[in-house]
Symmetry: C2
Subunit: 427 residues, 2 copies
Amino acid sequence: MLEFQKMSEKELQSLKAELTEKFEACKAQGLKLNMARGKPGADQLALSMGMLDALNSKSDMKASDGMDCRNYGEPDGLPEMRQLMGQLMGLPAENVIVGGNSSLNMMFDTVSCAMTHGLAGEKPWCQQGKLKFLCPAPGYDRHFAVTEYFGFELITVPMLSTGPDMDVVEKLTGSDASIKGIWCVPKYANPTGITFSDETVRRFAALKPAAPDFRIFWDNAYCVHELTDTPDVLLNLWEECRKNGNEDLPLFFASTSKITFPGAGIAAMGASEKNLNTLREHYKYQTIGPDKLNQLRHLSFLKNMDGIHAQMQKHRTLIAPKFEAVEKTFQEQLAGKGIAEWTKPNGGYFISVDVLNGCAKRTVALCKEAGVTLTGAGATYPYKKDPNDSNIRVAPTYPPLAEIKAAAELFCLCAQLAACEKLLEKA
Amino acid sequence: MLEFQKMSEKELQSLKAELTEKFEACKAQGLKLNMARGKPGADQLALSMGMLDALNSKSDMKASDGMDCRNYGEPDGLPEMRQLMGQLMGLPAENVIVGGNSSLNMMFDTVSCAMTHGLAGEKPWCQQGKLKFLCPAPGYDRHFAVTEYFGFELITVPMLSTGPDMDVVEKLTGSDASIKGIWCVPKYANPTGITFSDETVRRFAALKPAAPDFRIFWDNAYCVHELTDTPDVLLNLWEECRKNGNEDLPLFFASTSKITFPGAGIAAMGASEKNLNTLREHYKYQTIGPDKLNQLRHLSFLKNMDGIHAQMQKHRTLIAPKFEAVEKTFQEQLAGKGIAEWTKPNGGYFISVDVLNGCAKRTVALCKEAGVTLTGAGATYPYKKDPNDSNIRVAPTYPPLAEIKAAAELFCLCAQLAACEKLLEKA
């Protein structure tokens, strides 16, 4: 296997012709696959159909505290749901508020609340002038987008195999009070799949930010989303923060979107009493309270953490083969060519690929031309601008297994074709 | 029957003694009833239990457009749900966005969006200095609270039997660009139960506010919530606004909270394409989209407007007798005494009582002392301050019918006792 960058111009020309022929053949197949978002497949959705029967016209509709879940009330959520979501996030039930069907919504509302009303008794963010937010990249585009929408300057922090570069995080937050937060997906990070190291978590817990209203947005979206028998273990940030008297620093988020139904799951947030009271005040005006019937439905179906782990084992059975098929194809078609590196995550929803610098946009465009939609190149960086035009997020869960191999092969073809084109430009 | 205000001091003293004795006897009964919120009774909740079976593990989970409702996507809501909510609000489906379980949430988010991002291309409200909001009063406390939370100065507009005093509304909005909106419950208003007259609706539709980002918040919470065979008819504000080229002026809201389940219904908003696009942009960052399974569940159960009207007929059967019991008791115990007036609404959830000036707080306190919780006196006015301390909102739906009479009798007793005390103060 020859490395592309060691090829002569003639060899590259010949390879390009060969790849182009294959690409045209591939295009003719008329693929129509979507690997753009971390979207469960139809087989995964089927795993939760039983939940729809769990609550029915014969159910007694009462929470453990006797509350009639059909009526108004209980804005923090059902006690047993707060407990379960707390276990998922690593906090006690009393530090948890249950929301609607979207944890992103709770993150957005938290930022929005800070904008208009402020946190920790400080001035509302919208009255504090130009503010900044730290965005470890590659990262989750929808996180970055929330803070971009609210006018923050997005500061890229390099994402390492241990998590965000903590030297950078400590230096920036320690000196600049206009930095108000950082986005984190601490376990099976979107898209790199890494889990923050114990040292990273400890350094987060010990942060001394210049801004008293700086917050760590700890989106534990993939906390139980394993792909192997040897899951990553994430240190408990809540406990570490408490050791340092820093419990107002982190805000925890999670949901059952990828445990039960993506559009009809349960979201929750966890935080210190002080932070929760700020949010409670906000929610008191914002809503009549969350959908408690869906909470009851989830509790009937999932029951407890054992139930959640059993459900996740079923998901794993369906999606691990998809990840393996992609990795096997990448290994066969891209290894040793010096034009791509990719992650092999122990969990989560993504494979992160770094193609040859300057080739991500072109690779994604070629894939699209042949019928496979990927996350837009650059999306994993603030302002959708990948400085190297190199990172591509691949989401293998949505297409059926039978079609994954074809999609992965097309990806490899396009990555190689784009690399040929780029190297010939320079030649 | 003697009018209280024509009694001598001696007569009042003797009456007060008699009423106090009755009050103590009543207290001894140990009532524990809640008439504070517009909350459906348990018998009403039972009407929708069938909805829980409508969606089950055998359902095909597809919307009319083939969408798998279990997954992400379709942020505006299912096409057939947009249509149904549009029919409820009087707009075409394409002018409707379906939300979560709370229309209050959609109102709050609209105000919040205007605060941080602005409407109609104008500056964000949070950058426009001190702003004002019109609050027809008596009105809905949670409406007023949203704008109070966001720092608006709340301007009281007198509520007439035809709706808000439009002379005042036209004068204020026409000259003051710092006035950004008005709260309306146009049919069976909370709490007075009146429906805006055709002339009021036409004058709303013809408003020429000084502020280009002024909006009418048209919360049609009780649009199909009839109590009689001769329902009030509300003129369609959307159509009237279109006639005047004023379609960007109104924002429509409704929900099924009091059609199916209060905590687990479907909320929606309707507006012009221009307004919806502003909100769509906001929701794009805020959420992964609404719970489409609950939409599907509602569609299976309610089916169409005929289904909704049939369901509302069942509600009416349960709650009309409660309203009648309260009205009958008021008539028997309070009529002709010159100390109270009350509404006889054709629909909605409330009876609005005006007791003797200066007696509302005391009446509510006495009721509470004897075990009946009412909406706090003053709550129907901006800043919870009723200038006359006279208005009390009575919500008869939640207590069982068997206990309504006792609660209403207690109310009459307390209103009379408070009136005696007040008149004796002056004597």
